[in-house]
Symmetry: C2
Subunit: 208 residues, 2 copies
DNA sequence: GCCATATTCTATATTCGATTAAACACACCC
DNA sequence: GGGTGTGTTTAATCGAATATAGAATATGGC
């Protein structure tokens, strides 16, 4: 029987020596999900990617939906944690501009480095059956809250242009960043260049 | 037998009086495609949306994939045509800034007004079987070319900031606009406000 | 009102994919 | 060198979805 069914964000890699299969399956599911979308994700594809037979999946996850649900949740939680950590690492006197800049970098790095999970979330976030998306959407809402705060800080220090309604500005910025998962690939050049350009564009789009 | 199988962009509405069924099916397919994604699009859902039984679809389209392929192509072609028309309507002496501004409005309006087709394209563009996406992707490439030109015009008149690589800047802007399909809805306020904010942010993000 | 054609429906064949059942392998323990 | 538990496989089940066949119904011309 499965060792655990709905687990949290702990580092899956270091579990019981023998079976990192569970983690391989999760990664494989993220990959397939990113490529084919929720409805197009076949257990047989996941199994092939993870080098097992399809029914083996049921040893670790009670159903296809549970597996997908976990990919979405783990991916969203990791994204949120990554941003939280990046902001926490800033000195206490960092300016709102510094914080936004850091957030842009954190978002892009995470998105483009853990890109299967990020793509899975970005592509499927809004088109999942309620039950499958619930936990993930809650994480995403938390992620949005962080950004809401960042924009509010900018505004309260007079650094948000008057013609930018905070909620709209936030979504436009997040859209620009999310979409990078659709088009960016390493052959376009080092990620650092993209990050610098994005930071510059984001800040110029928001500041007076 | 079907009157036409793979048709072009002509106004479908004004064909033979009796059967606007073909167009209803196309619209229904766009709607379902936008909501559920390529793999999640069931003929039965399309049929229900168009108020026919599923097998009736085969009277108009030879297969599920042909129908979807046409939604994608028609949608992409319409988007491109809408942008082309909007730019052509500008006076000959319109500045590069005017032209970008117009393009932002055209993109958003089309996306949010004909939103089923646009959402279908935005959500499924990169995750279609090669054969299904081919014609649509060609249209989208053409669409991108227009934007490439717009950015180049901006650059050649010294209105593009030096730290913005044109290709990256273009994709970031398009991402911001595309993503609106995911979050914007009329209850957030009139579309005009969104457009003005987006125009302002886009131009500030690009100009010196 | 009647025919011919256009359109749509009611079955039905067939295929594909999730899930379950049951068997197999293999390690470790004694 | 048999027994137990953990992973994993192959074989069987079952429902859902595309597509086909052929019957049934509209519709327009006369």
């Amino acid at each position: 029987m499965p060792q655990r069914t709905t687990d949290t964000t702990e580092p899956e890699s270091s579990g019981p020596k023998s079976s990192r299969t569970r983690e391989r399956l999760l990664d494989a599911a993220a990959l397939v999900l990113a490529r084919k979308g929720f409805a197009g994700t076949r257990l047989s594809d996941i199994a092939e990617e993870a080098a097992v037979q399809a029914p083996a999946i049921y040893y670790y996850y009670p159903s296809r939906e549970d597996l997908i649900e976990e990919v979405m949740f783990v991916g969203a939680a990791a994204m949120r944690a990554h941003l939280t950590d990046a902001l926490a690492a800033l000195p206490a006197n960092a300016t709102p501009v510094d914080r936004i800049s850091t957030a842009v970098e954190a978002h892009l790095r995470h998105e483009l480095e853990i890109s299967d999970y990020a793509k899975a979330i970005i592509r499927n976030g809004n088109q999942l059956p309620e039950q499958v998306g619930r936990r993930a959407l809650a994480e995403i809402a938390g992620y949005n809250d962080i950004w809401r705060t960042l924009v509010a800080e900018l505004e309260s220090t007079g650094q948000l242009r008057a013609d930018v309604e905070p909620a709209v500005g936030r979504m436009i910025v997040l859209g620009a960043l999310n979409w990078a998962a659709e088009w960016w690939n390493p052959e376009r050049g080092p990620i650092g260049e993209l990050i610098r350009t994005a930071q510059s564009m984001v800040l110029h789009s928001l500041r007076p």
